[in-house]
């Protein structure tokens, strides 16, 4: 039961892709992903990220996006795929709810 924390954009890092590859082979499906900093761009509704977003959907695990980092970058609901949005307080709550937090960057 791990919260996977990604902080780099898929445009510059394989972090999200690598994390998803591992999760495909994770039999303990109670994990979740939280996109922070530049990783929030992964939620952009763009064709070259479609395969990542499909992969997340097919894994059927919760994927959260940090609200403050979205707002900083001018992203809003109209521009992003349907991910759950959490704020800093939600981030803290998630890190309590999950046994451990694993950072990928």
């Amino acid at each position: 039961m791990t919260l996977h924390l990604i902080n780099k954009s898929p445009a510059r890092s394989s972090a999200l892709n690598d994390c998803l590859s591992v999760l495909e082979f994770d039999n303990n499906s109670a994990s979740a992903i939280l996109l922070i900093e530049d990783a929030v761009y992964a939620a952009l509704n763009r064709s070259s990220y479609a395969y990542l977003q499909e992969k997340i959907k097919s894994l059927a695990i919760p994927c959260y996006v940090l609200k403050e980092d979205m707002l900083l970058r001018g992203l809003h609901a109209g521009l992003i795929e349907s991910f759950s949005i959490v704020d800093y307080a939600g981030f803290v709550q998630l890190s309590i709810d999950y046994n451990k937090v694993q950072s990928w960057s």
């Binding site: 954009s9 510059r12 763009r46 900083l72 001018g74």
Partner: protein, 120 residues
């Protein structure tokens, strides 16, 4: 000193490093020295132009606020890569300013014509 054709290409997203702030400094300084300046946002760089960026909660500097003022600095050659907008599902209405769009072949041409290119 004859003014040079200076081209600045922004290819990175706005908050991944301090590069954005440094780029803005280069642009404003070159403009102050009356150089002919062209600024192109391409690839991930187009994300600089997204409107409603809100830096309050983060304490970081919101560079996008400065972009509509570039005209006052006589930086009026500001372009954005057409395909990069399209691929990200963005329209010029989503941007803080309305730059003209360029195709990749037009960008190649602009690079050829420039005396000096800064590519970040």
């Amino acid at each position: 000193m004859t003014p040079k054709n200076i081209l600045v290409i922004v290819r990175q997203s706005p908050y991944s490093s301090i590069l954005s702030a440094a780029t803005l400094d280069i642009v404003l300084t070159a403009a102050a020295f009356e150089q002919t300046l062209t600024l192109i946002f391409m690839g991930e760089g187009v994300l600089h132009l997204l409107s409603s960026q809100d830096s309050k909660a983060s304490g970081l500097k919101n560079i996008s606020k400065a972009l509509p003022s570039l005209e006052l600095y006589e930086v009026d050659q500001v372009f954005v890569e057409k395909d990069a907008l399209k691929e990200r599902n963005l329209k010029t209405e989503n941007l803080v300013m309305r730059p003209d769009t360029l195709s990749l072949s037009q960008i190649a041409e602009t690079i050829e014509k420039a005396d000096q290119v800064f590519n970040f």
